[in-house]
């Protein structure tokens, strides 16, 4: 298997268009599992981990631009005040080793219904910045996620960044799993009480084909837990039952409201 390692974004985009079958890889914490389990045999890997433009985060006017290569450890450390729910979600990802390697771009690339960065980013109205040799486009995260492990990225595109305008609203992230660390969400929830928009915003994970945003006016707090539970489309699988997942979302939403809208 070939490994292509571009040093600049331009070079990466060129390689991406020349080798549409090559798999992008950044932290490799999803890709290597696929390879090791022999679930996929891509002809080549496009290694993005050396590209400076994808690293770190920056602030432009009121907007945060989170590089695709931003790791969970960086989210935990740097974004605690501006995007607290994302920072909390980052703390629940895998183990410290995974948090050091795993990236936001990788979580978006995988687009798992259980991706832990996705609910907090949905609540904050994030946009995904995609680029190809033809140019750049921005897609709201809600539209980017199109199905379980499917997204709107085209074969010649790369994820470059996530853009968020932090709401400043009180927010939290919670994740349910039968083990107290290192666990894939059986159900998860990010919630914010956005007084400026006058909105309750919640997004669930692992309870439907994609993580999904549910909103309601602040005044409808009393029925919000039920609304989130109803919006979910959970299934039974080895990790949990649909009944449990819905139940958990009800409990999580109630508790999150207590935390954020008390």
């Amino acid at each position: 298997m070939d490994v292509l390692t571009p040093r600049t974004l331009d070079e990466a985009l060129r390689l991406r268009s020349e080798h549409p079958d090559a798999w992008p890889i950044d932290g490799g914490t999803d890709v290597l599992v696929e390879l090791n389990f022999d679930r996929a045999r891509p002809p080549a890997l496009l290694n993005l981990s050396e590209i400076r433009e994808l690293k770190g985060w920056s602030r432009e006017n009121g907007t945060l631009r989170l590089g695709a290569g931003l790791t969970y450890t960086q989210c935990r450390q740097d974004l605690r005040d501006v995007l607290p729910a994302l920072a909390e979600a980052s703390r629940t990802v895998g183990s410290p080793q995974i948090q050091n390697r795993g990236t936001l771009g990788g979580n978006l690339g995988t687009s798992s219904p259980a991706g832990d960065s996705l609910p907090p980013l949905l609540v904050e109205g994030a946009e995904v910045e995609l680029a190809s040799v033809r140019g750049e486009r921005r897609v709201p995260l809600e539209e980017f996620l199109v199905g379980p492990k499917r997204n709107a990225m085209l074969a010649n595109e790369l994820i470059v960044a996530v853009r968020v305008s932090p709401s400043g609203a009180r927010q939290t992230f919670m994740k349910v799993g039968p083990r107290n660390a290192m666990v894939i969400a059986v159900a998860s929830l990010a919630l914010s009480a956005d007084r400026e928009r006058g909105e309750l915003r919640a997004a669930y994970g692992s309870a439907g084909p994609v993580p999904k945003l549910v909103t309601a006016p602040l005044a409808e707090r009393a029925s919000f837990a039920e609304r989130v539970a109803e919006a979910a489309q959970p299934i039974d699988d080895v990790r949990g039952t649909a009944v449990y997942r819905r139940h958990a979302l009800r409990v999580l939403t109630t508790r999150a409201l207590e935390r954020c809208a008390a």
């Binding site: 629940t92 919670m174 660390a181 998860s188 949990g240 409990v251």
Partner: protein
């Protein structure tokens, strides 16, 4: 050619009874320890196993023609290439080396490939055309008793067991004790169930087979009993035992899962076929089908007692699912029967245990070996009985605690040390930590890093459990252990010793035990333990049944004393270049089988000795989400005498973690016999955050029959931990919780 195997080991200090850092501790922590998956030999090829995707199917044909011609491929073998016996097994040879016309479980080996590169081997395996005719799998152990026999030749029928004509029976045991119909003033009953637990060792099955150029083979492998491997490998290769030399490679955990063979015969077959060293390393997914698991169980129990709390009669029915092949199911059946009533004296009992063949994953040895399952049930029953009688649960246990002189339901009188009341008292006396104040960091609450509660819905509970089991093999098995001691004088005339013992170091610390015993007996500084192998010393028996400390101590002590005697007879010293070389076999007190009709022991003892343990667990449960934090565990462990106390504490913590795992999360899930969670993503084992601190006290009451009085400690913490943790969950939630592992939806009250 260079092969890596466990190097000779040496201690700087330490005798029996002293805490001594394990010789393998630093290499393991620093990553320098060579595991069986690190083996290497010049010119080696990689072996790969093609496995059945079906739980039950007829094999109509196997076409290897395309696979053989793939690049890098040196051999593709099927059952037709097995030169000797086509079947093998630990106790009954009922398992094909490679499937013959039929597969009986998901993952059963069908064909082997050897290639230059592991990827080439995998790709070639995909090109082997196997035509399967899927058959309906037998997956419900109760229905199995009426369905078609999966092994029509009934491999265990002639073994002298209770005659049970029902289909698919591996073994039935009936123990009748006193008057099995005796009535008590009160009665409680319950039905309990346990899922399939996996050993989940971190080092996948792996090894290296090296042809010797003269028709024989050396196999370097992570195993638990070198000589029993040889006894199974040689006949299948049609070789004499001495032509097969088994060497212990670095073992990455075992817990019973390496008692059965994995790659041994396969690697040797490919090595002899190609004339090249063969390395085989299972993937994680493959490892889940590469070894046997803990038997899932359905257990019905009724306890009859009087108002004073004395047990009158314990009535038990147990059904164990053995999966597709016998493995050690017959012995697990007998252990479950022996310990079904728990460590309590009871005048009357009826215990009926049946194990069956199904097309589920094969089950066999795992830490606790039948005692874990029944402890979960009998301890739930004791709590139920205490509630029914309005007695303190600890008091109820003390009133019934079995003691020296009492008789077990199988007729054996307890003669050795078994301080049940003492472990109960010592454990009960351990102070339970005060609840921590709120608010706290989420990781100190149920749900941990998931950040789900700040205290909402959280209730605390305490549970208590006592359990016991046997040490060493039972029921007449000649379970000996050999050791060899070579005394020599070095150039300066200084005496040194080399100890040979085939006792498998599986991470339990037997290397230290051997060296500490040798240092105690020989009073020398320069003592090394030679690499473990079959060629230089007789069998040590299995590193299982909590027996290796007892047996290796006995063998090494005997051999050391013989060596010293020999030395004395030569005037007490050796000239440079001279040596004393003695090998001795140690045997524990004899045991006898049970009468197949009554289940009563046919001699003095059925089991060599017993070990008991009591445990108290404190949990916090988020009762709305059904998530748990085990806050604290206290335990009192009967140990006879601790040879290396530090290692004993380590075993207690590790064994507890494994029992806690079965209580809360560890379960192999299947659908129609197919494993649906063969990964560490979905087969969860406890992390450091799930494991609480363990306060352990050692109860040292030396066993009169054991060398130094030392009993084993590998299993008892696991036996009681599942029961203790689930008892605490019941206390916190008020739910019955009759099934382990307990799942969040059970704890949240969503499912019964």
């Amino acid at each position: 050619m260079r092969t890596v195997s466990a190097p000779a080991r040496k201690l700087e200090h330490g005798r029996v009874g002293e805490s001594v850092l394990r010789v393998d501790a630093i290499p393991k922590v620093t990553g320098e320890f060579a595991y069986s998956s690190d083996l290497f030999a010049a010119g080696m090829l990689w072996g790969h196993t093609l496995r059945s995707p079906h739980a039950h199917a007829e094999i109509e044909s196997i076409d290897i023609s395309e696979a053989v011609s793939m690049p890098g491929v040196h051999a593709v073998l099927t059952h037709e290439d097995v030169p000797g016996k086509k079947l093998y097994g630990l106790e009954f040879a009922d398992q094909p080396v490679l499937a013959i016309n039929r597969v009986r479980y998901f993952g059963e080996p069908v064909a082997l490939v050897a290639a230059e590169h592991p990827e080439q081997a995998r790709r070639a395996a995909e090109k082997i055309q196997v035509q399967y005719q899927p058959l309906e799998p037998v997956v419900d152990p109760e229905r199995a008793l009426e369905q078609e026999d999966l092994h029509p030749e009934r491999p265990t029928e002639e073994a002298g067991y209770f005659n049970d004509p029902r289909s698919n029976v591996v073994r039935t045991i009936v123990i009748r004790h006193g008057d099995p119909d005796a009535e008590g003033e009160v009665s409680v009953s319950g039905v309990y169930e346990l899922g399939i637990q996996d050993q989940a060792f971190l080092g996948p099955e792996s090894g290296l087979a090296v042809p010797d150029g003269e028709g024989g083979v050396d196999v370097y492998v992570a195993t638990q009993w070198l000589h029993v491997d040889r006894a199974q490998v040689a006949p299948c290769l049609d070789l004499r035992p001495e032509q097969v030399r088994i060497h212990l490679a670095g073992v990455g955990g075992a817990f019973g899962g390496r008692e059965d063979l994995s790659m041994q015969i396969h690697g040797a077959l490919l090595a002899l076929h190609t004339g090249r060293p063969i390395k085989i390393v299972y993937t994680r997914e493959e490892s889940f089908v590469g070894h046997v698991h803990r038997h899932p169980a359905r257990i019905w129990m009724e306890h009859r007692a009087n108002h004073d709390g004395k047990l009158v009669n314990v009535r038990v029915r147990i059904l164990l699912d053995g999966g597709a092949y016998a493995s050690s199911t017959t012995a697990v059946t007998s252990n479950a029967s022996s310990f079904a009533q728990g460590p309590y004296a009871v005048a009357n009992a009826l215990v009926e245990t049946t194990s069956v063949y199904t097309n589920n994953p094969p089950c066999g040895a795992m830490r606790g070996f039948g005692a874990v399952q029944v402890c979960f049930a009998h301890e739930a029953q004791m709590d139920k009985l205490a509630a029914e009688l309005a007695l303190d649960p600890v008091d109820l246990r003390l009133r019934n605690a079995i003691a020296q002189g009492d008789i077990l339901p199988n007729g054996q009188r307890i003669t050795g040390s078994l301080p049940v009341a003492e472990v109960i008292r010592r454990c009960a006396a351990l102070p339970v930590p005060e609840p921590e104040a709120l608010p706290r960091d989420a990781i100190r609450l149920p749900g941990g890093a998931g950040n789900v509660t700040r205290g909402e819905g959280v209730k605390r509970g305490t549970g208590f459990a006592v359990g016991f089991k046997n040490i060493c093999y039972s029921h007449g098995f000649d379970d000996y252990c050999a050791a060899r001691v070579r005394l020599f004088a070095d150039a300066s005339g200084e005496l040194g010793a080399e100890v040979h013992c085939a006792a498998a170091e599986v991470g339990q610390g037997v290397t230290n035990v051997i060296l500490q015993v040798a240092r105690t007996e020989l009073e020398l500084e320069n003592i090394t333990l030679a690499p473990h192998q079959t060629a230089t010393v007789d069998s040590a028996g299995s590193a299982s049944a909590s027996r290796m400390t007892w047996m290796a101590s006995g063998a090494v002590q005997t051999a050391c004393r013989a060596a010293r005697e020999e030395l004395e007879s030569r005037g007490g010293s050796l000239a440079s270049g001279d040596e004393v070389d003695v090998e001795r076999v140690y045997r524990h007190p004899q045991t006898w089988p049970l009468d197949p009709e009554t289940g009563q022991v046919q001699g003095e003892r059925a089991h060599v000795a017993f070990v008991c343990s009591a445990m108290k667990a404190v949990v916090e449960v988020d009762t709305e989400l059904g998530l748990t934090r085990v806050v604290w565990i206290g335990t009192a462990q009967d140990i006879g005498r601790a040879v290396n106390p530090q290692a004993v504490y380590g075993q207690i913590e590790g064994g507890t973690a494994q029992g806690l795992g079965l209580a809360l999360m560890e379960e192999i899930q299947t659908r129609d016999g197919l494993i649906t969670n063969a990964s560490f993503t979905d087969y969860l084992i406890p992390t450091a955050l799930d494991m609480p601190p363990v306060d352990a006290v050692l109860v040292e009451e030396p066993d009169p029959d054991a060398p130094y009085g030392a009993k084993g400690v590998g299993e008892p913490p696991t036996v009681v931990a599942t029961a203790a943790v689930v008892a605490a969950l019941r206390d916190a939630t008020g739910l019955e919780l009759t099934r382990a592992p307990v799942r969040p939806d059970h704890l949240a009250g969503l499912t019964a």
